[in-house]
Symmetry: D2
């Protein structure tokens, strides 16, 4: 087992891109790291009167903790990031509408001549012990408890081709994936594009619905523990998630059907590899047995996941050489 590090950034340590940023620390394959992530508003929204478009300044949105240089990670390798735990660091979560952003409004790109929707902030009480977040309507006496289901919206490495990409965007390098499937107990696989991989993460959500419809989840700072492992000379083209029960391929694109196609295409190839089936037989199996959890339909690239239950595979332990099982166990031991 590797070492256990901790890292808490100050505001000036935060990054706003994947790529183009110097690492804040180094980790070795096998190391565990407990870190703090700020919320997507940089902690600036604390009351319902803190309208994000006023209290936040572009491009200082969606800050990422890191990047971390992973010793020995080279282009052509895969970085496994196992999430041991994701724990809200505050007892209040924040959501909002944002002018011309979200799925049910025209936007900067799906441009219309209509004025934006009202910008409104909602605060959620987070009760980690009870495992709930409390929704409270702003214009009515209406309150319901939703399951607490902490996740990270944004996890990625530096992109290829000398690019630096805003932390608001997702692509092959990960980034702003905004899928509720990225919760504690899962392992995220990312292809390494630059020496050291340059891993960063942020954008904790106490929970989000599928699609992140209004564009903003229940945003909250997080205290998160991850274990990283470098899989040498294993290529991963699009981000993948492994849970105890399933394998998941992530597609990031517009239009949404391309995110769907990418994710399903990757899952078919992955299934063929793990079962020995030819492409068409794998296509058929995925067609009947797969699900397609929606990530977000609001960010610069939408995300769709393609998911297959592991019990349909002949040897689930063979997935990435048993990395998830190893990290899952090791993680449990090291907590």
């Amino acid at each position: 087992m590797g070492e256990h590090h901790t890292y808490t950034p100050i505001a000036s340590d935060l990054a706003y891109t994947f790529g183009g940023v110097e690492p804040v620390a180094s980790l070795r394959s096998g190391d565990t790291l407990t870190l703090f992530t700020e919320d997507c508003f940089g902690g600036a929204v604390t009351t319902v009167d803190d309208l994000p478009s006023r209290v936040c300044e572009f491009p200082y949105l969606n800050p990422v903790t890191g990047p971390f240089f992973i010793d020995g990670a080279e282009p052509g390798d895969t970085l496994a990031v196992h999430f041991q735990s994701i724990v809200p660091a505050r007892t209040t979560g924040v959501s909002s509408t944002f002018p011309h952003f979200g799925a049910l409004t025209s936007t900067s790109h799906t441009a219309s001549l209509q004025p934006p929707l009202e910008e409104r902030v909602w605060l959620y009480d987070i009760d980690s012990a009870a495992g709930v977040v409390r929704y409270r309507a702003r214009n009515a006496e209406y309150t319901v408890d939703l399951p607490l289901d902490p996740m990270h919206g944004t996890v990625g490495v530096a992109p290829a081709a000398f690019e630096a990409r805003s932390s608001l965007t997702a692509d092959t390098h990960g980034g702003n994936l905004d899928t509720p499937e990225l919760r504690a107990g899962t392992t995220l696989y990312l292809g390494v594009n630059v020496p050291g991989a340059l891993l960063g993460l942020g954008d904790g959500h106490a929970r989000q619905g599928q699609g992140e419809v209004c564009g903003v989840a229940v945003e909250v700072a997080m205290t998160t523990t991850i274990t990283v492992e470098v899989l040498k000379q294993v290529r991963t083209r699009w981000p993948r998630i492994e849970s105890d029960d399933a394998i998941m391929s992530i597609g990031c694109a517009r239009p949404l059907e391309d995110a769907f196609r990418i994710s399903q295409h990757d899952l078919v190839a992955w299934t063929a590899e793990l079962t020995g089936l030819d492409t068409l037989d794998a296509y058929q199996l995925v067609s009947q047995a797969g699900t397609a959890p929606v990530g977000n339909v609001v960010d610069p690239n939408y995300t769709m996941l393609a998911r297959l239950p592991k019990h349909l595979l002949p040897d689930a332990a063979a997935i990435y050489g048993g990395t998830h099982r190893r990290l899952r166990t090791g993680g449990a031991e090291s907590r």
Copy 2:
């Protein structure tokens, strides 16, 4: 409680459009009907050598049983169709690839200069007692059991505006929705566009994955029992499903994000109506608590669902005046 009818069509009774077809029988609001539906290939694919592009003849694809004239149904009303049971009428289900059709191939519309994928047929053993369908690879010794989860891909009424639409297409009138959420125990709500509504259904699936990726589910003829009810002067713009646990709005469109937008927009309005929340408060609740089950990403119109758990609503019994609960109970009694 209404009467219980049975109806078994012969081949020449089958319809290939919604609209433009004379009714085969009449039902009254409250009546129950047990009917037989052919599979999407008209039963013509029975061995792996029966390639659909050879044994089926366009446009004689996806036959629909009906239409049924529902007495008293008028434009501006809603037709509730409660599925009491959906039972495979054969012990073998069929799937296939089809030239230039499906999500992971170029198509007639997402046109490319590439030749089509191989056309291949798969047969599934359906074991209704065990509740499984058995996948068998064609080019490998690989077999896995998947849960039997019978559903109808195609249920609809005659469209508005004097249209007749192919049974391969979904739109506001329902049609080829191809969502696994349309299973026994649910109620489908469809807006009525013409006198008598002209309900038809078909395209039974022993199961399908989300997205119906290869374009064809585990197709099988069905023996299905429904109860219908006319809700006078209740408008329903897009198809909606109610299960014991959730309300679901269905969007049918291309591109896929428009299917998503339609479904979420309808769910926000429905949620606002059922909770008394204003639009933005409902938008926020749906954003954090909703899911977005994918229907199909292969048909002329894709389908996305927006789903909200009923326990978040103040009075689930108020949904369409308690229709689902009433039909669910009545259905149980009448079986």
Copy 3:
């Protein structure tokens, strides 16, 4: 040469679908027809206070004159429709915004929670002698003259597969193509799907910009003269236009890139056929020499055209067996 007929419908003669309507008259291959078409509002908008959403009643929008039964036209044939002349039948054209319709607003399908844009009507003076239509701003003293360029937005035949489609939609059968390329002097080729073809046309535009951005062109009733010809056993999959200078393939679909793909795919195949080039050589030629005139980006299906100059072809007279040249000349003679 065929006969010259004239036809002027009364309101109750107008059709609102392609398919599902009885023919109003018969023509023979080679016949010429002068007919009257109402504007898309049925003539109901005559002042700036006649807001379309108030004075028009769904589905009585976009009326079509016809359909005409073309003797001898059978499925598998092509119907050539040559436009001899398209002349505004009134001296005032009408345009408007329409609630939740158009390219720069959210719509019923690209759904948002925003209220619609203001509904506003513009009147245009049409000066056929001078060849101009006069734009007048509503909220400013601003007037500019635009070239008169009359065209039909809607021309089609009955669709295949027993369908009846709203005159607001375009597809393989033609319909609401809304392209400014469909002007006098061109020949439209449509695949025949039913005996008699059942040709209808309407939706005259004194002119429109590419994309028909606000959703409504300069709408006006027309007096139009066409000559029709049946090309036996010549298949046409998507609508095509031939002008004196160019061949054009039309794709009708959403998303817009699929309309683009369809049109380019069809043009590549057509170019290969006319040049004897293999597919890739034709693809290359079209890539460097083709243009892509935008039709509409507002209707249920968008339209894109793919256009190749005829002088790049070895024998322009070979296009559809010289039909356009023959009709062009014959038309000139018969005027």
Copy 4:
């Protein structure tokens, strides 16, 4: 008038991103620069046997000459880049298909299970004196001359938000716009995002069709002369082109309708500003008088242009304070 500089890069001077690269030289507002740009293949394709996927190495594709630091350019300013001349630097142009890239093939994002199309190279003779490029089929004796119409596919500045973007992509910063409208005699306006703007350009095309359908134009190195001017405190959100005859707004996005919406939205706002019309009156004018030239439908972001003839504006000389006219004249003098 400013100084006239010349710049010829060696291979190691070339850039592959906008942003993240040190400037190679400085210019002052008003300066003229004659520079050399390599073709998109880095000059590596010289025979039909030089398949791009073999002779080029990712990410060393689409090299850009620059970036150039423009003294005094600051975020919030606009950089005007006037193209005095664009002259092919070689007598042979190159095009090709490329595996899983282009509009009429499935791609990495519009993913399918189909194998790629054949990779094939075409060579074009460029005759600058005659003003033609000669297409030669590969698998037939077929030759046609097309008009020489030199342009730059790729022109941009460093993006905002600390990003560095691949030269293969277009966005608000310009980049791989791939529109035939960017020819000599036009002025490109780009919003400045970083001090010095960091202008780069490359990807010369001897000509291209609209859409750049196969993904590759007639690629050739260029000798190009530009004049740059900084417009202080003038914001430009999306790239704009001014020619002698028209103003054009460029939208870069997927899906294609969003590129369309962006471009039209920007043109409506620009038209409102130049005419004093309110938004809806400008929307109406653009709807009837505008055209929508297609740029590319193949790159990571597609490009659409919205174009309005300048004679419809009350004072064409007011566009960006008369910059185009001034640079057009100055350029003529300095040639």
